[in-house]
Symmetry: C2
Subunit: 433 residues, 2 copies
Amino acid sequence: MSAASKVRREQPDREIVVFERGRHTSYSACGMPYFIAGQVSDSDQLIARKPEVFREKQNIDVRINHEVIKIDVDNKKIEVTNIQENSTFWESYDELLIATGASPIRPDFEGIGSDGIFGLSTLQTGIDVFEYIEKHSPKKAVIVGGGYIGIEMAEALLDLDMKVTLFDMAPQVMPTMDKDMADLIAEYMQESGVNLYLNEKLDRFEVKNGTVTSVLTDQREEEAELVVLGMGVKPNAALTSGTPIETGVKGAIKVNKKLQTSVPGIWAAGDCAESYHLVKKEQTWIALGTVANKHGLVAGINLSGGPLEFPGVCGTAITKFKDLEISRTGLSEKELEESDIKYKTAVIESRTRSGYYPGSDKITVKLISEEKSGKVLGGQIVGFTGSAKRIDTIATAITAGMTAQNIVDLDLSYAPPFSPVWDPVQTAARRLV
Amino acid sequence: MSAASKVRREQPDREIVVFERGRHTSYSACGMPYFIAGQVSDSDQLIARKPEVFREKQNIDVRINHEVIKIDVDNKKIEVTNIQENSTFWESYDELLIATGASPIRPDFEGIGSDGIFGLSTLQTGIDVFEYIEKHSPKKAVIVGGGYIGIEMAEALLDLDMKVTLFDMAPQVMPTMDKDMADLIAEYMQESGVNLYLNEKLDRFEVKNGTVTSVLTDQREEEAELVVLGMGVKPNAALTSGTPIETGVKGAIKVNKKLQTSVPGIWAAGDCAESYHLVKKEQTWIALGTVANKHGLVAGINLSGGPLEFPGVCGTAITKFKDLEISRTGLSEKELEESDIKYKTAVIESRTRSGYYPGSDKITVKLISEEKSGKVLGGQIVGFTGSAKRIDTIATAITAGMTAQNIVDLDLSYAPPFSPVWDPVQTAARRLV
């Protein structure tokens, strides 16, 4: 929708048709845990713009409940199912943008299709969880997977006074962080009442009358009246099969920096498409709202004649568990261990504000630089209120190719309510020079 | 003390003598308003390290209550007054670092020397204000000057339930911001109960029995039981007079990037010394704790053999008035109007968090870029909780020479509790491309 809006602004007379298999457009998927927790009072608040607004105010022909099932590249047309009428038709195009997003991974465990087991992806899945909780008042919740969705849902379900158990087969939560930083998060989750079991593999779900009753791992059985799956996502690239549209990293649709696919006239943007990784210097696949929005803008401009390039991503991400903030950018030590790059790391503990200022709290910053050049390659932050947005300074520095000494030299802001006199990011950088 | 500590770490056997005319070392002058407001319970909390700790743990010969009054450059010695004994002696040096700081400007208005009128500079001046309030319980306070100290003291004195009146002869508060941004601050100060009078010139102080009773401007008389002067600061460079040590911008001591003065073997650092301005590309004078600390580190390394250069400053600063956060970096429109540079500005209003997330509030970002190159020259932020530290992203981008498009492309962090999907800094940048 972001691309469609951009095209409309650039080309007031162009015909724009959008097919959406669900019922909603332009919503904040990231807001779902907070809606489920009751912090956002109405799911409509998560919607930036409804289909009728696109139709009426922007003259964009949005057709919800329509799923595109096939692309005929040679004849420049697509096959579409009208889900409500259960009918199918062909629509022609001059240019096609694929923006099909990503879907939760749902491995084929016994009982995974039962009632009470949810993945989170579309707004509808969030509404489904919310309504299930309203109706059944579950008291025992199990979350499978300790990534972004897993820890955000752990916070949400604790807020709703459930007993929350989280399983992950990895030895840590938050796989995009290094274990030393993830351990700080795990510790705080346990202190806050989450029953956290790492190194445990999901085995199957116990089901009674079609509804989940417990989760079995390779080590225990845990009763569950609600199960949330946070086992990662995969790009929705099925439409490319049987076409010459190439896929790449993790099955995402291959695109160049203009977001063109391998087939002229066909573009891809958002969670279904690749991006270029500015630090790895190779194609990557990152399913995140920020990246998707930038893709939308760039695709929209290029569909209107362009040209604009999307330079790429650093892998920046942020979240929180209760008042513990978490962020990361660039490469982790884990990622670097798999490369040939020689690197140095610094992990420092500092304060979010001047130590004497009320509300000053703990922040831990990990910074990684290339041994030879001193260039900063990655950063990770775990700390209390006011910590995590500091990752933007590191992301900006990495994008600019700055060294740790360059970060030490930065003229960052300081006043007692905001920071120690050396910002924690600089304190970490000082350890690397 | 920061330089002295660095020298000690680098050269364990070097003789280091420090003369300090006051009683305290290594304290946070920026914390004084919060101590006066009662948010910091004890002035000792503002002290990072006491003289006896430097003496005992670091073998640094700190002599408090000793004022250096003369430098004999030819014979490499300084004349020192022992203030308590009222005696004078000469001390020789191999290398000399001048770190005499800055002092509040106290123009020669009638009655300005009276009891109840305070400037804020050393920790002792903060303690003096605190003790005066304890003893006299003033109910009516007048602040002269609407800069950093003025607005921080306005918050502090409102917290203490005083009637607070603030005069500034300029048409705006916060002279380092542009008027459009400063007006947002002024409006909020007035809403919060500050009697704000702009465009009013201080005339004189009414005094009774040696104590201030009212403040007269060119337009009114305002009763005052306590007056705080926030009329700016000037570098303490008097020691250079009668020596070949050159002074420069606003009378600050001229230094190169190594912090050497014009006389070999003599260095200057902190609020008494110049810095290089990375955007103006000329020498500047900025009296701020962050800059002073960096000067200390660089001077310490160079005094120990070095070499290290201090690349310069962007003019980054941050403060708050109650829950309204304020920050700036680079050049303001006001500064640019005085130059030959052609520029573009964008002022946007956005939200600190996703609009639907609890606590989401208003943030205004002003961004300025060079018309021809697109390079970002400056930024200003006024907004509620979570706004102001975003200035660090802009400061980093400016230091790296980034354009507005580069900022749009940055991979900044987003999750509903932290930001809209386009960070407000990027929303401003989008208006400039």
